[in-house]
Symmetry: C2
Amino acid sequence: MRYDSKNPHYYNNDRFILSKGHAAPLLYAAWAETGLFPTEDLLKLRTLGSDLEGHPTPRLPFVDVATGSLGQGLGVGVGMALCARLDKLDYRTYVLMGDGEIAEGAVWEAASLAGVNELNNLIAIVDVNRLGQSQETAFGHHLNVYKRRFESFGWRTEEIDGHDLEEITEVLAAVGLGKQPLVILAKTLKGAGISFIQDKEGWHGKPLSKDEAARAIAELQPTAKSGIGHHIPAPTQLPAPKNEAPASYPPTAYKLGDMAATREAFGNALLRIGEVDQRIVAMDGDTKNSTYSEKFYKKFPERFTECFIAEQDMVGVATGFSTRGKVPFASTFACFFSRAYDQIRVAGISMANLKIVGSHVGVSIGEDGPSQMGLEDLAMMRAVAGSTVLYPSDAVAAEKLVEQMALNRGIHYLRTSRPKAAVIYNNDEQFPIGGAKVLRQAAGDKVTVVAAGVTLTEALKAADQLKNEGIGITVIDAYSVKPLAKDAIKAAAQATGNVVLTVEDHYTEGGLGDAVAGELSSEGIRVHKLAVTELPHSGKPEELLARYGIDAGAIVRKVKSLG
Amino acid sequence: MRYDSKNPHYYNNDRFILSKGHAAPLLYAAWAETGLFPTEDLLKLRTLGSDLEGHPTPRLPFVDVATGSLGQGLGVGVGMALCARLDKLDYRTYVLMGDGEIAEGAVWEAASLAGVNELNNLIAIVDVNRLGQSQETAFGHHLNVYKRRFESFGWRTEEIDGHDLEEITEVLAAVGLGKQPLVILAKTLKGAGISFIQDKEGWHGKPLSKDEAARAIAELQPTAKSGIGHHIPAPTQLPAPKNEAPASYPPTAYKLGDMAATREAFGNALLRIGEVDQRIVAMDGDTKNSTYSEKFYKKFPERFTECFIAEQDMVGVATGFSTRGKVPFASTFACFFSRAYDQIRVAGISMANLKIVGSHVGVSIGEDGPSQMGLEDLAMMRAVAGSTVLYPSDAVAAEKLVEQMALNRGIHYLRTSRPKAAVIYNNDEQFPIGGAKVLRQAAGDKVTVVAAGVTLTEALKAADQLKNEGIGITVIDAYSVKPLAKDAIKAAAQATGNVVLTVEDHYTEGGLGDAVAGELSSEGIRVHKLAVTELPHSGKPEELLARYGIDAGAIVRKVKSLG
């Protein structure tokens, strides 16, 4: 590997991902050897006072992404390798996997995309030590099984003795040849060199006793036959990629009352800000004509990755781009991000700068039925460490929130809707993260209704109907579900007798209603919820909003029923 | 296929899974042809009044599992095929997939397990029509790519012209040969037989205009060259599997004060009830020595499926078993079920009888760090349609809840913990779903503390400390997170000035606190929450409980701070 070990983040350093994160002590020891930190620090392993944690996280400067949930490293590596190509850099990306994790489908999603894209700057190494945590793997030391599989996925393969450093260095010297990604299948013995552990089951993750440790250390010998030492080749000098945010974005140009779906506004926004912000890249899972990421793809195909129907890999690729200074927007139907929830969870641990856009949320998609309805996405995305969850109700809000996503670091989720909705905001309206919009409010209002997306439209309809009957309601657009505009909602609620009604096109668990109740209940606010409380059926969108009790009629009835 | 078309659920019927669920109209038309329902009903497609929904669901008697989220059918098929072998039945399982969905890693997890288990009773058919939703697939009509991949995963392959019914029937007549699962790669043209659609992009999911429909119908001709007609072979007569619940389970035998982890109690329970309940099967993802499903595996290896590190497939396999009358318990670390969230979501739509057991929850696992901590599992599992979420605090509760999971239909999630905890319940204590236990309560209590798992232990410690200072608290064990024991918690809260404090080893979003606030806020109860509010670090369990503010000390401080 070619890198500046004093500057692990240098943009043209080769990258290394320890996908088998449980081997963290090896990684830490190797970096201590480079002189990045004192070897004494290794003794702080797994303590609260040290970032040498049980599994690697980017709290350490030489770790790009958290690992420890197996089978995720290769997808991230694909993203890095694609980014090197985009940035015209010659760094290579190395991913070390265990043989056990090769059972993860995510590995094969990534392998396929690497093959299709002929990523000869990507090198996977599989440590085939035969032993999983609880038993032998399905294929033991039969390297030929892995060889056939990777070859069928478009990879060049090399089989080596993983304990022979000369063979390892020889194979590594020949990386980058040809058009294919390379996988090195390394036959190894778990616990090699320790007679009472080597190639034996039952030692995974087990500490040695003091006596066993003494025996093991006495038995261990250096395995290097050649004089490899500490020479680390320097990275090539190439122009740095342009990864700065622009001073501003071009304005939006909607008219009040225009009909536009927020999913389409997302597509417009990505194209609009992508014109001036070179950091923006996008990826989709063969739904780009539904999520509208297609608009960006058509203009900037080189900055777009079609991940096909492989959402885990899509999130991995996006995370890989994010580690290289890009701002990746990954889009598909909201419900299909549940396929990549583990990747998103781990991106949270990686503190990745990842932008996720889920379309087709809730029963308002209509006839396609429950398998296509995102009804758990708010719960799922709220529970990601450090995440921001945004849910626009009109096209202006959607576009402005896409800007916020690009300008702020971290995992941001944008929830977009299938149906068209009227534009209700002016083009100069601002949508800061953590904000909310009070759309209707008058003295004597009975209830504060908090909604977003399609239910905001319904809440505004309900407000009109109730007004005709002499009942006033405050209506709040809670476009920022996390962080929630707690103070604004609280203030409005206090003016309506401390009563709030939340309405959402989402299951009742973990969504907007729980968010509001979870934050405001302790303040003495009574939070009533309208949400989807049963498995929905196919039907027309307006029929379904009524059937599941989240349309204007349901709001009117509920408001009237409240003390 | 051999089946009794008047009785789609007959136990030895061949099974068919339309994994490419968007082709639902074909499935419905085929079943109408068998005479199961009038062909006129087909015109009710995608309406609220008909169960012929946009994608198939088990609301229809001939559908075992919901499809529509691509790439899930094969995993379920593997479970069915394994179950046929267990039950000594000769039905075959057919799974029809699209070529687009072959990009899903879940397909390759399932393909690998099918190959390893030599499931020659499993037949996959891939409709290689070249066109995805938004563009051509990565491999177009290059069937040889799929052929090489499936062969490397241990499958026998056949390539056919998917429009030649004679070739199709010839290949199907030879299923069951050899030891390998069979995949039929069918080259097809999307929209075949309609000149202006056939093999063209841009028609996915698009309805035809009236004129276009007339032209299309005029162009379409029957493609059957042989007289296949309506003859449906009958299934073989074989003894029915024994899928009845036993009258009772043997009792547990813990002593108050015994130290046992709830994860170990789960293992004990599975073994104990598995002895008398033949419906119980189990599967794990190479963590059986950590989740303790190993206890069952050692006694009943034939009823256990090692799924290796492939959680999506594990949930698919479990769902497959559940459709055949078994009660499958799938276990791994709680956080790794996030890998299979889409499969679990769709199992909810399938109304599957699926039991999920997630261990190693929260910061209390300690040194392994955040990638191994289940901190979003309550949020995730609560938001599954029809799910039940259980969280035992001691070994007796864990065992009794496993019984409840086996005796009640539906998706049940059991959250188990890594650390040992004292047994606090007698062996005759009952734990009905939807219940809670009031463990400490006295007149004049200041606050009702609601906890579960490790935080219940902390709450009891806090109660003792506060008692010494003259402050009483009510302590409730909320072992049933969904459904929540709303009335019991409400009654307790009303006796403590309408103030509740929830404490949980889970992120603050979507967990126990949000559940309690979401249900009780509207009743005028003030719910305060203690939960993990930042990305945690490695460290000792007790250090982490303190650092993240969910230990006895944090509870004591919070109780004192409450007005």
